[in-house]
């Protein structure tokens, strides 16, 4: 049922786009249309030039996704562990988060060189603080009576964390995963805008450069497909955790 509605939405979107493109209701130069995009992707797939781009970006994204979620959660744990740390760091986190990451690009290049490291650093810069803020908030929201229960048994802060805080925050962490699927893609693409020899971000910026928007749209299309796959993974995890 849900799946059917989703398919209907997708199909009508693509059909409308196709028709609009074919009948020149939209500027094909700028927006292209699905069959043209698919054709381009197919050609590139056949001649083998697409796969390296995809695999590069997917690997960067997946690494960034896991590392970002992990670091963000660990940072949240660290901050949670000390009231003073929490109060001291809170404004820094928020202000740091407001720095436009693209403007920090040169910093990464200088620090990490023009390579994968910079791209992954960009992904981390984009995901970590948001993860930290959201997860930390969920730590704070936990009913203190649950904490009391384990304290009575003499639980240390670590044990309290493992037995109460973490399991109670799982739903929020999973929802952060959903946010991070998006942020990781943005991070790796923006990172590739910075420096790259290949990858979907490279294809996008190159597409802009050579005024081939079909290529840009095609890359976005591939991103959407892989983001969907990652979403499915997270959704499966969510289902499993909710029994």
């Amino acid at each position: 049922m849900v799946f059917v509605i989703q398919m209907i939405i997708l199909l009508s979107f693509f059909s409308l786009w196709e028709v609009a493109g074919r009948f020149n209701w939209i500027d094909v130069l700028l927006f292209s249309y699905p069959s043209k995009i698919l054709n381009l992707l197919y050609m590139k797939l056949i001649d083998g030039s697409l796969l390296p781009h995809i695999s590069t970006t997917v690997i960067e994204t997946v690494i960034g996704f896991f590392l970002g979620t992990l670091c963000g959660t660990l940072l949240a744990i660290l901050i949670w562990s000390s009231k003073i740390l929490e109060k001291v760091l809170d404004p820094f986190l928020v202000v740091l988060n407001s720095m436009p990451k693209i403007a920090l690009g040169p910093l990464f290049i200088v620090g990490l060189g023009p390579g994968y490291l910079s791209i992954i650093a960009m992904t981390l810069a984009i995901t970590v603080i948001i993860t930290t803020l959201v997860v930390l908030n969920s730590f704070r929201e936990i009913d203190s009576n649950y904490i009391k229960v384990v304290q009575i048994f003499g639980a240390s802060k670590t044990v309290t964390f493992m037995k109460v805080i973490l399991p109670a925050s799982i739903p929020t962490i999973v929802s952060t995963l959903k946010v991070n699927v998006g942020l990781a893609w943005i991070g790796s693409i923006v990172g590739e805008f910075l420096v790259s020899q290949q990858g979907l971000g490279y294809l996008i910026i190159y597409g802009f450069q050579v005024f081939n928007f079909t290529l840009v749209m095609g890359s976005l299309f591939i991103i959407a497909i892989f983001a969907t796959i990652m979403y499915q993974g997270v959704a499966y995890l969510e289902m499993r955790l909710n029994k």
């Binding site: 009913d143 009576n145 649950y146 009391k148 229960v149 384990v150 304290q151 009575i152 048994f153 003499g154 639980a155 044990v159 037995k163 109460v164 399991p167 109670a168 799982i170 029994k243």
Partner: protein, 258 residues
């Protein structure tokens, strides 16, 4: 002296933005090892507050609290505390909820686990091991919380209205179960209850609390005949009714003054 619990001139004030409330005042009480003491008193007189202080969850505004001659400042693993509300973890099964104390204290092994399962069975929860708390009735949840507290076999047991959600028959059965367990292992216990017969049947002493602020109004000693019987049998004793009425009377006095 071999005191299990000793409260010296304990008072506690709850301070919030709106007000400062003197919840309990000048509590002086010593409980010997192996003793069973009940607290009775009107709702809101500070019973839970006293238990929380004993458990080390609240630092009293004044006075000192010691357990086996050691002053306490944080929860001690000698103490088991069954809170007034169950607070079972929704993400753990019933069995895992019951085992959480053992788990935290790193005492979980085949023996303690089978003991916990035995307790669950005794309390009529044998079919619920793999269920989650929201699949249980109120009384069943309360029993799980009781098992969770008993499972770690603490030296001192604090029970805050452990049987309030149970029917008479179950309650009587569990009173006997808890009573026997404690006596065999010579454990110390403090029970908060609104059921005067429960207090009389189970305890060595009954502490009657006054309210606003919570103070010790009177302490009743239970005669040996009743003390040494199982709670279920005590109720048949001659002196029982008399004691019951006496306590009832004291509580009525408090109520009228309040």
């Amino acid at each position: 002296m071999n005191h299990a619990v000793k409260l010296i001139d304990v008072s506690h004030v709850y301070v919030s933005e709106q007000q400062a409330l003197l919840a309990v005042e000048n509590i002086d009480l010593s409980i010997e090892s192996g003793e069973f003491v009940s607290f009775v008193g009107p709702s809101g007189c500070g019973k839970t507050t006293i238990l929380s202080i004993l458990a080390g969850l609240i630092k009293p505004s004044q006075g000192s609290v010691s357990i086996f001659n050691q002053e306490i400042s944080s929860p001690s693993n000698k103490i088991g505390y069954m809170l007034q509300h169950d607070y079972l973890f929704p993400w753990r099964t019933i069995l895992n909820n019951a085992l959480v104390g053992l788990d935290i204290m790193k005492k979980l092994n085949a023996e303690t686990k089978s003991h916990t399962m035995y307790l669950l069975n005794e309390m009529g929860l044998s079919d619920t091991f793999d269920l989650y708390p929201d699949q249980l009735s109120g009384g069943m949840r309360q029993r799980v919380a009781l098992v969770r507290t008993l499972a770690t076999q603490p030296d001192i047991l604090l029970l805050d209205e452990p049987f309030s959600a149970l029917d008479y028959q179950t309650k009587l059965k569990l009173e006997d179960l808890v009573f026997e367990t404690l006596k065999t292992h010579n454990k110390t216990a403090i029970l908060v209850t609104h059921d005067i017969s429960e207090a009389v049947a189970m305890s060595d002493r009954v502490v009657i609390l006054n309210r606003n602020p919570g103070r010790i109004h009177k302490i009743m000693n239970i005669p040996d005949t009743i003390r040494n019987m199982l709670p279920f049998q005590s109720r048949e004793e001659e002196d029982f009714r008399k004691l019951f009425n006496e306590i009832w009377h004291e509580l009525e006095n408090i109520e009228d003054k309040g």
